[in-house]
Symmetry: C2
Subunit: 334 residues, 2 copies
């Protein structure tokens, strides 16, 4: 795969300019570009510039509102909702996260329902923001139907990611973000682009037969991770990001918006917890003892630990962007 | 495996009498016996009478307080804590669940922290109670270290189960309850008792080599389901049921209390959500459409669907209890 090295600033500028050129206002372009830039910076190409062409398609065909003005409502002492006004998720998240953190600090636990947005389902940015403020956080969202349930053969669930973050004392938060499927959708698309097979057990072809061919999986079905247990998580996430908050389930989201990885309509639920509310000032020290024991006793690393070094490397050396991705962006015109 | 058929009432009476004979007061004996009885009734032998000998050991050696008087505290509009007074979990849960449901109905979301109890980690009873009141519910608890992290070889995490329930309109709630390990600990113990191998990928022996021998896994390590993704869940559950609520992590819980499946000290967090708070009166209908689509489009069943028919069968035909379990209970004396 041929690539071009870009600085973090160049990535942000390319994303911002492209989104502005195709109908995003300044606030929306900045929020989305920041999201994609942080993904590239952290080594998560599946949620970076690669997604820009899909976003533009959604702007061009009118499915996304590039000038969305999300509206925040406080529903009670521990609950908030942001109606995203049909725009992309990042601006709605930006507007909701600080009030969510404030509510969680006041009541110990709080929930933010994000509705009427188009989401492309990297959830670690939003839970990281909360954990950087000293809160534990959990986020869930559904996606168009890509994943067969345990025992099924046709797409029904979304890849339905869930993310969790825990604040650390003198380090970046511990953050994980994982699809209820074996891999994220973007990973299958990137494997197709790179001509590489998927891991065993990743999916089924359109006839329901196991396959590692990313193209066959894209037209067939992805599989949940860990069999019926991953499918149970997918079902929970569908219910929590759908019926619980008055948003669509995966099976209702219909086919994906376009073949370019454009985000789809749907909801997201974000929960925030203040560890000091229940456990007092020692909660974070206690978490540190857990991490320390895990690192020293087992010699393993913490989830998300690659992101910190990836960010440093990106800041120093830039990020390698696939030329195919850049060509697709260029082909969008301006 | 030789078994004896017992009626549900006989199971309840045997559990109650045994617990009373070994130091439980009436309230604790009734709550624990009800919990075990419902497990047997639903076909979950791993959390039924099989656990009685372990409970009695904990009473005899003074680790459990059979006359515990759990104390409920309301910490804020959306948060509660029950200090279990060193007793077994069921009475603490019983005292906390109705106030949790009330708080969730008032604020849309609420959390109950259960501390200072001994838990044996079937979580579906408590989330079911909440879902029967129209609430969605999530529960997590840790356990002694039995499970190696992804990439590790020694026990570090507990089996760390998580349960989720969603209320249904004219049916028993949809409920799942699953360990972050490939199987629950009790399943490994029951496989050992029955002389049956575990599924591939269930665990490691004491030298860190993969094995399906339940005995080798019991002295080695169980494995997380789905590789690093199950391990991420185990870590989240350790943090949520430990540092978040001021309770022990799995690695701090020390070795299991005894070899009879006795419960161990630890905490539990239970979250409750009122779907009508966010989504209005249509939330449950929306859930029904999801279940209906899953059942008809894919021909699969819902998680936990076996429990309903198992209960009916148990009520009509009784439950087959392993004679070895009954012999162990008899050997406890009175």
């Amino acid at each position: 795969m041929q690539t071009t090295i870009m600085t973090v600033e160049e990535i942000r500028a390319l994303a911002t300019d492209t989104l502005r050129a195709h109908g995003c206002d300044e606030a929306n372009a900045a929020a989305i570009a920041e999201n994609m830039t942080q993904a590239e910076r952290a080594g998560a190409a599946s949620h970076g510039l690669f997604r820009l062409a899909g976003h533009v398609t959604n702007l061009k065909n009118g499915r996304a509102n590039g000038a969305a003005k999300p509206i925040l409502e406080k529903l009670g002492p521990a609950t908030l909702r942001v109606n995203g006004d049909g725009g992309f998720a990042p601006l709605a998240q930006k507007i909701g996260l600080d009030p969510l953190a404030e509510a969680a600090r006041e009541t110990g636990i709080a929930a933010l329902a994000i509705t009427r947005t188009m989401h492309y389902a990297a959830l670690w940015p939003e839970v990281s923001v909360l954990a950087e403020q000293g809160l534990a956080a959990m986020a869930m969202t559904s996606s168009p139907p890509f994943v067969a349930p345990a025992g099924g053969t046709k797409p029904f669930f979304g890849t339905n990611p869930m993310a969790f973050a825990w604040p650390r004392k003198d380090a970046a938060p511990m953050v994980w973000d994982q699809a209820a499927s074996v891999t994220a959708r973007g990973e299958v698309m990137l494997h197709k682009m790179a001509g590489k097979p998927m891991p065993d057990g990743s999916g089924l072809d359109a006839d329901g037969n196991p396959t590692t061919d990313p193209d066959a999986i894209l037209t067939g079905a992805q599989l949940p991770f860990g069999g019926y247990k991953g499918a149970s998580l997918a079902l929970m996430i569908d219910l929590m990001a759908g019926p619980l908050i008055g948003e669509v389930c995966s099976f209702e989201a219909g086919p994906p918006n376009n073949t370019l990885g454009g985000p789809s309509e749907g909801g997201e639920i974000i929960l925030a917890f203040d560890p000091t509310h229940f456990a007092g000032a020692g909660a974070l020290d206690h978490g540190e003892r857990l991490f320390e024991a895990l690192l020293t006793q087992e010699g393993t690393r913490l989830p998300g630990a690659r992101r910190g070094p990836a960010r440093e490397k990106s800041d120093q050396e830039g990020v390698a962007i696939a030329n195919e991705t850049l060509a697709k962006i260029q082909a969008l015109g301006s």
